[in-house]
Each structure stands twice: as C-alpha cells, then as structure tokens.
C-alpha cells in the first residue's frame, strides 16, 4: 500500500530453506538522510522514487526521477546482518495506555532536554510522569519535575497493576517526533518495573515499536549494600559523544504489514543476543560507549541482576563501533547535524 510497485525476487538458498527468505541488511541512516532531505523540494520536483537492490554487490540504489528529465541516483552500500528478534509479548502487558502523541509531547516539554530518565507511575486513578532521581541524587543542584494527569486524558486507559517504571526519555522523544509527523496515536504497553515498556504506533501504512528497558526497583536496595551506581543502560549506549544519524537504535520501522506475528524485527549486527544480558554496575559507566559491548558479551551470570531487559539495537550500535566497521558510501553525507530528521531527538520537545 505504501509502494506503487513492490517486487521481491527471492534468492534461492538451499541451506536456509526453512528461514523466511528476506534480505536483512543495514544502512547508515546518515547516508540515507541526504537522499530524502528537504521534503518540500522533493514534493515539488520528484515524480518518482525508485529503490532497488543488488544483493550480489551489496548495493542499494535510490533513484529520484525528477521533473525535466533530471535523475538523481544514490548508491549506498549495505551490510548484511542477522536481525535480532525482540521477544516481547505486548498483549500480555497488564497496563495499556493509548494516547495521541501531542499529549505526550506536551508532557515531555516540561522536562529539560538533558533529562535522561523519567519515571512513569500509574494507578487506576492517576498517572504521573516525574524526573528520575536516585538515592544519591544531589537535590541541592537538581530540579525535579512532576506532572500529574487524569486517566480521562487518555484515549484508552487500562491499569491492571500499579506500577512505577523508569525509562530513557531521550529515546522516547525520537519516537514522539516521528509519531507527530505521522499523526498516529501512541500505545504504551508495560508491566511492573524491571519489565520492558513498549511504545508503538500503528496504522494502515506502517508500524513502529520502541521497546525500552526499565529500571528494576528491587535493585535499589541491593545497590546500597553493593555500593554500585546503577546508571541507566538506555542512555549510555545510544548516546555516544559524537552525534550521529544512527539513533534511535531501538526503533524499528517496518514499512509493510508484519508477516511474523507481533515481534518486531530489528536489523542488528552480528551478535545474536538471545539471552537476557546482565549488566553489571561497573560496566555501565554513564555515557561510555564501551559499556554495552562488554555487557552484551558477558552472557555470564552477574551476581545480581540489574535490569531485566531486552537488549538490542543499542547493543548493535556499540558493536559496530567496537569493531570499527567502515561503510563505503558513495553518497556523501553532507552536514546533517542541523538537519533533523524525524528519527533524531527533536529540540522542539
């Protein structure tokens, strides 16, 4: 429905007969953005956009057929990968909220852009978003914000279990910007703390899901004994020092109705992290990029579980950094720092 013409030629591969024949690949978002920059200009000049792949030499070609016979061709290299399946049953979540992204955006505007994590606390009669503070937060320097909403404001409000979940706000802002652009309402599925929280938007043309880990509250007591500082994993991995077009990593956009149930696929680098990774305190060092690479590699049991989480996307990003892959891209990513696509965190929020 999204495409005028969609043609898929399966490459026969005897060893993978059982697997679904698809081409999982990944591209650097920064390289793709310039192709579709300036939507207004595109709308006026471009008559057709053709996307084709040649799997043999790992190229994907974007062709913009414009007015007056002008054709712009972008050849980008992709890398094959093994997508990670997020095992997360949305329908099993006791708490489900549905609301227009505008409401969430209006809520998030009260938090500074530097706010890493926020806590969502629900009971059947009230909803509260507040800035996340730890035991050892220096309150004399930190501004704390709380927003109380009534359940009536939500299009759909189901709270099966009172819960208080803490997750990464920065990641969410990206999805909210995207949702506002598409005008599709946001669904929030979650459970108790420690279990993942899913933000998803779904309409006829597309589905997008953002699944975030939440902080496990029980750990807070163990921490004071252990004297480790449980930094949020979410922020550390996906926000390295250099801004890049690769965020948000946990977001997955499928541009056609999903064929495989409700588990969103996410193209991720080599490592198949099927087990739930344990993140130890000393590994998660705030914004140090290496943290996740270590954590993901460490499938061994840490003496305590910090986060029950599904780790993907973020893991892949760091993996990529760690292994220092370079992508040959024939389309030079021009200066996109100021050019914010919908997937990057929007300063508006």
């Amino acid at each position: 429905m999204f495409f005028q013409h969609y043609c898929w030629t399966a490459v026969s591969d005897p060893c993978h007969k059982e697997k679904e024949l698809s081409l999982p690949c990944k591209l650097i978002v920064k390289a793709v953005l310039p192709v579709f920059r300036c939507a207004n200009v595109l709308g006026r000049n471009v008559e057709k956009c053709s996307i084709s792949t040649s799997p043999s030499d790992h190229h994907i070609t974007f062709q913009l057929l414009c007015k007056h016979g002008v054709v712009k061709t972008y050849n980008l290299t992709f890398q094959e990968c093994d997508p990670l399946q997020a095992v997360f049953a949305k329908h099993m979540c006791p708490n489900i909220l549905k609301v227009h992204s505008r409401l969430l955006a209006d809520v998030m505007i009260h938090f500074p852009t530097s706010q890493e994590e926020i806590t969502l606390s629900v009971t059947p009669v009230k909803v509260c978003f507040k800035s996340y503070t730890e035991e050892d937060t220096d309150f004399s320097r930190t501004m704390v914000t709380e927003i109380h909403l009534s359940p009536e404001e939500f299009d759909y409000f189901q709270v099966g279990v009172d819960s208080e979940v803490t997750f990464c706000l920065k990641e969410l802002r990206g999805l909210l910007a995207f949702s506002e652009a598409t005008g599709v309402p946001v669904s929030i599925h979650f459970d108790r703390c420690g279990k993942p929280i899913a933000f998803s938007i779904e309409d006829v043309l597309l589905e997008a899901s953002l699944i975030l880990a939440t902080l496990c509250e029980a750990q807070k007591e163990a921490d004071s004994q252990e004297r480790c500082c449980p930094q949020q994993w979410g922020s550390s991995e996906t926000h390295p020092d250099k801004p890049s077009g690769d965020e948000p990593n946990s977001t997955d956009i499928s541009k056609h109705p999903q064929r495989d149930g409700n588990a969103p696929t996410n193209p991720v680098a080599k490592q198949e992290v099927k087990s739930i990774p344990r993140v130890t305190g000393r590994d998660v060092t705030g914004r140090a990029g290496t943290a996740t690479a270590e954590a993901a590699g460490e499938a061994t049991e840490a003496p305590y579980q910090k986060f029950h989480s599904l780790f993907f996307g973020a893991v892949s990003y760091k993996e990529k950094d760690a292994t220092g892959h370079t992508f040959q891209s024939l389309a030079t990513a021009s200066d996109t720092e100021e050019d914010l696509g919908p997937l990057q965190s929007s300063p508006v929020l």
């Binding site: 505007i109 009260h110 500074p112 309150f139 004399s140 320097r141 930190t142 501004m143 704390v144 914000t145 709380e146 927003i147 109380h148 909403l149 009534s150 009536e152 404001e153």
Partner: protein, 294 residues
C-alpha cells in the same frame, strides 16, 4: 530548613492567570535574566522582588539589579522574612530553572510558587494547566535554592548611580542587537562611545579590520541636577565622546535577552570605567553594569 538559624521562612505566592499578561511578563523577565547570568540572588520584600547579581570577579565584574513590584505579577503574595525588622528573604537560585518552570505559565489556569524544604530548600512552582478532561494537569517543579544568611545581605545592596560623563538613550534594541551580534563574530571587545549631542558609535577593531556603526539623533536623558551632582556631565563639551571598551559578549547577552521593547532604554558611560545600562518596562526595571576593560 530545620534548625536553620534564620528562623521561619515561609512564603506563598500565587500568580494567577486571570490576568494572563502577568505570567507572561514574569516569564519574560526571568528569561532575560537567565541569559545574563547562571546564578543570581532573589531578594523578596513585602512589596518588591529583586534579582541581583553582585559584581564579583566570577561574573567578569558585571553586575545587575532588577526590580519588580510584586503587585504587578502576583494576585496573592504572602511572605514572612527572617524577623519583623528584617522582613526579607534572600535566595540564591539558577534563573534558568525558574525560566523553564514558567515556560508553560502563559497558558496556565493558575501558578503557585512556594518556598518549601524537602530534601533542601526549594521553590516549588505548581502550574495548573488546562486539559481535555475535567481535571486539570498539574505540573510541579522543585527548584533548589540556597538561603542566604542575613550576615551577608550587605553584599547585595543596590548599586549607586555612577557619576557618568555621558547619558544617552539607546538606539532601537533590535537594530543594536543585530549589529552587536555581527560584530561579535569579529572581535571579543567592543567600544561604546557617545556624546551629549545624541550620537553613539559602536566600534570594533582587530588586526585585519575595524568596523564602526554610527547612530545619531538618539537623544540624551535630562537628568535633573538640583545640586549639580552630575557635575562631570555638566559643562561638558556636547560633541566630546565618552567611551568605554567592554566585553562584547556581555553586551550581546543583555540585548539578546530583551524580547519586548522597553519603554525606556538608556546607558550612562563613565569614560574608561564602566557602562551602566538602564532598561525600563512598565513594571520592571533592569540595570546592568559592564565594567570597562583596558
């Protein structure tokens, strides 16, 4: 503030949006101040609020005095200072935090500001916002503040008007701001010079280039001097320029913070010593002192 030697300090201010202009204006003032300095002192008295920045070296010697009448901003204002004779409260705060808390105040049903002490003294700003449902949204911001003990209140006295050489009205701030912003790209220092004939020049000079912007017909404020106290300005040659070389960033910050055109905007120049800016709005007065550099 348990055990605080300064005694009870409780404060309740309600800033209502039945006069929507109020919240906006207060937000405007706070915005301006947050652009000038990272931290400042808030002095509360029964009738007035003051935002003060004293001229410590950390600020680059610049100082600020901003005064507003609480009645123009608050529908309800209750305050109890340290003691009856000293019915004032001095707080140290980060204006940026307050600015952020008041960001949505313009569309609020009501805004309440309280001084409380949870983990530490803080200003609790509670904003009641309209919502689609029957019950409003309540946003609370806890802004940490430092309570300033009475013994150092003297550090925050109103600065005296300097004995200036020239006093002149400023050009339209928008124009002045765009000029200064462009000059900022070329140099770190700017020379302001003006005379009593309503002429002002903004000059920068580097190895490669010097740029001067001339303003004229600005007008000079008529400072009444009953006892001839403004003697350095009296009997002064009308054409003679008084000048001061100042940090351009400070000037740019001052101009950038002005969202609304002031009713009156003027500056007093003490040659080679200090430039004293006065910006007057209906209910707020802002004075900003920028020391001259060699």
């Amino acid at each position: 503030m348990a055990g605080h030697a300064e005694g009870r300090q409780c404060l309740a201010k309600r800033l209502a949006s039945t006069f929507p202009g109020k919240g906006e204006r207060k937000g405007g003032v706070i915005n301006t101040i947050s652009k000038l300095t990272k931290t400042c002192t808030l002095r509360l008295t029964v009738c007035k609020l003051y935002f003060i920045l004293s001229d410590k070296v950390a600020n680059g010697g610049a100082s600020m005095w901003c005064e507003l009448c609480q009645g123009n901003f608050f529908d309800e204002f209750q305050m109890e200072g340290v003691a009856a004779e000293h019915n004032e409260i001095y707080l140290e705060l980060v204006p940026e935090n307050l600015s952020r808390a008041l960001k949505t105040a313009h569309s609020a049903k009501a805004v309440k500001i309280k001084l409380t002490n949870k983990h530490c003294p803080c200003l609790r700003v509670a904003v009641e916002l309209p919502s689609l449902s029957s019950s409003s949204r309540i946003v609370t911001h806890d802004i940490p503040v430092g309570v300033i003990p009475r013994r150092i209140w003297n550090d925050f006295r109103e600065p005296t008007m300097p004995d200036f050489d020239v006093s002149i009205y400023l050009p339209v701030l928008k124009i002045m701001k765009s000029v200064v912003e462009r000059m900022k790209n070329l140099s770190n220092f700017i020379v302001i010079e003006a005379n009593l004939s309503g002429e002002m020049n903004l000059k920068i000079e580097t190895d490669l280039v010097s740029v001067t912007t001339h303003f004229k017909d600005l007008g000079n404020p008529p400072w009444a001097s009953e006892d001839g106290c403004q003697s350095s300005a009296q009997g002064r040659n009308l054409e003679s320029m008084a000048e001061a070389r100042i940090d351009i960033k400070k000037l740019q910050q001052l101009l950038a913070g002005q969202q609304v055109n002031p009713t009156k905007a003027l500056c007093n120049i003490v040659s080679k010593r200090i430039v004293h800016f006065i910006l007057l709005h209906e209910d707020v007065s802002l004075q900003y002192f920028i020391p001259a550099l060699a």
